[in-house]
Structures are given as structure tokens and as C-alpha cells.
């Protein structure tokens, strides 16, 4: 694990940890993570609707990693950067859950992602609903999936603003960190 990723991981990790992972993101990992989180919350005092919201947002966050990683092809050739590398951490806080995900993105995508999240964060609940319906009904299907619905859906379901950071990695790549909060 490079020092850079270690630092990103530490910045992302806060509170009581339910799951923390760094490595290759594939379909099995997503299924296993969900199963593990469900088991952990099975006998907890968390309300059913909140659990469902958490699973939903968690899957969306993990599948975002699965579909949208830009692996940097640079001088670093260790395992993390060769694979479909991502980080995710699920914390339980006093007043809710915190999901933080991280993945490499090419620098050309940074302003597009920023613009998109800033737009989502500027919308009211009612505007988000309309925006979701518009994208659902008008955007083309893509092999990658949601056609840009993921971030809108996460903002809508959590009812909170999406927090993000771009950590400078090298000349071509940034490490994109997205954090979501689900209130109890």
C-alpha cells in the first residue's frame, strides 16, 4: 500500500467502523459486503426503513466504484493501481451512518464530476425528484448502468448533501473521495 493511499484511507476513516476495504472491486465483493452488513445489522436497533436505505445507498456507492474507476497507468505498478482499485468505509456514528468511497479518476473528469455534484447539492428535495425523473426518462441506457442516476439517487435517498474531495495523485490522476450520510 502506497503512502498516498494510506493517507487517503486515514482521512476517510472516522468513528465506529462497520466495514473498511481497500482493493479490487468486483461483483462478488459487492455481494459479500452487502451480506456482511446485513448480518451485522440483523439484530441491531436500527429501523427497517433506515436499513433498507443504507443497503440501497451502499450498493449504489459500490457499483459506482465498480463501473467508474480510471486506473492510473504510471510509474506506480503495485497491486492497488493495477486492479480495479477502490476504497470504501462504512461507519456508524451517533446519529446515523457514514459511507465514504474513493477511487482514481482521470484529471479530465474532475470538473465534470464537481459540476454534477455541485448541481445536485444546490437542488431542493422537490427539484431533485424532478431532476431524477428527467434523467430517468431522457438519458440513454448505458452498458455501465444508471446513465448518471447514481449520484442523484444517493442525494435523494439520504436527504443530505454529497461531500467530496479530490486528492492530488499525479499529473494525470486524482483520487476522488465521496462521502454520504444517512440519518437515523
Amino acid at each position: 500500500m502506497s503512502l498516498f493511499l494510506e493517507q487517503c484511507f486515514n482521512k476517510m476513516n472516522q468513528g465506529e467502523v462497520l466495514v473498511a476495504y481497500k482493493g479490487n472491486i468486483d461483483a462478488d465483493l459487492i455481494a459479500n459486503t452487502l451480506k456482511m452488513v446485513e448480518l451485522k445489522l440483523d439484530n441491531s436497533d436500527v429501523q427497517n426503513n433506515i436499513k433498507k436505505k443504507l443497503y440501497n445507498v451502499l450498493v449504489e456507492g459500490l457499483q459506482n466504484l465498480y463501473h467508474h474507476v480510471d486506473t492510473p497507468l504510471d510509474e506506480v505498478q503495485d497491486d492497488e493501481t493495477k486492479s480495479n482499485f477502490g476504497i470504501f468505509i462504512l461507519n456508524r456514528l451517533d446519529n446515523g451512518f457514514r459511507i465514504s468511497t474513493g477511487n482514481f479518476v482521470h484529471k479530465d473528469k474532475v470538473s465534470i464530476i464537481k459540476k454534477k455534484i455541485d448541481k445536485i447539492n444546490s437542488l431542493s428535495a422537490e427539484e431533485l425528484k424532478e431532476f431524477y425523473k428527467f434523467v430517468l426518462n431522457n438519458q440513454m441506457f448505458s452498458e455501465k448502468g444508471g446513465g448518471g442516476l447514481g449520484l442523484i439517487d444517493m442525494a435523494r435517498k439520504t436527504g443530505n448533501k454529497l461531500e467530496y474531495n479530490f486528492f492530488d495523485y499525479n499529473k494525470t490522476h486524482f483520487f476522488f473521495n465521496l462521502t454520504l450520510f444517512i440519518n437515523f
Binding site: 455481494a31 457499483q63 431524477y132
Partner: protein, 126 residues
């Protein structure tokens, strides 16, 4: 025309489609990485079904939760049903949601506002 019966998995819902009775059911979780692949047989079946429908088509959707790539595919399924409805077929979509699940109710209402097919929102009470 064949009856379709697909078992559910941790990531995909169970699907049953009966051309004789016109009963279509999708139940469980829908969170596959590749939703288009999963829903293709459903959409294709509806295309075929539109050539000779049952007197009444009832669609029961009872999902625990679904990812956004599924939401696109579900819309595609509903658009096929909308075509059936436009062709003077009797079509009803029953959208089930658990008592405290506002998100699932809202998701149903989103579809209801986009698709011109009668929807019935049905609360599941334990």
C-alpha cells in the same frame, strides 16, 4: 408463447410471466451490475406478448429495493406495458411497498407520473 419463471438471487428478483392468465410478477431485490442483460428477456417477452394478450394484464411489482441501473430497465418494462395499454389492452400495475418504506412508495409514484398506465399503490402490512 411460453411461460417465464426465473428464480430470485441475492442480486436479482424472481420473475414470472404467464401469457394465458396475463399475470406478471417481479419480486425481490434488483441490484445486478448488468441490469440490461437481466431485463432483456423480460422486455423481449413483452414484445412477443403484445401480439396476443390475455383479456387483462396484471403486473405485480414487489421490490425490496433496486439500483439505478435497474430503475432504467424497469422503466423500459413499463414502456412496453404502456404500449399495450395504448393498444386498448386492459393493463394494471400493482406497486407494492412496505408500510414504513417511503422510498419505495416514492419510486412507484415517480413511475406513475411518467407512464400512462393505471397504477395501484399497495401497502404491505406485516
Amino acid at each position: 408463447m411460453e411461460l417465464i419463471s426465473i428464480d430470485g438471487t441475492p442480486k436479482t428478483p424472481s420473475v414470472s410471466m404467464n401469457p394465458q392468465t396475463g399475470l406478471i410478477e417481479i419480486k425481490g431485490r434488483s441490484i445486478p451490475e448488468n441490469s440490461i442483460e437481466f431485463y432483456k428477456p423480460v422486455v423481449d417477452w413483452l414484445e412477443e406478448y403484445s401480439k396476443g394478450t390475455a383479456p387483462k394484464t396484471v403486473v405485480n411489482i414487489q421490490l425490496e429495493y433496486f439500483n439505478t441501473s435497474s430503475s432504467k430497465c424497469i422503466l423500459d418494462v413499463f414502456k412496453k406495458l404502456e404500449m399495450l395499454s395504448k393498444d386498448q389492452n386492459d393493463v394494471l400495475i400493482n406497486w407494492y411497498y412496505e408500510e414504513d418504506d417511503e422510498d419505495m412508495l416514492e419510486a412507484g409514484e415517480d413511475y406513475e407520473s411518467i407512464i400512462k398506465v393505471p397504477f395501484k399503490m399497495i401497502q404491505i402490512v406485516d
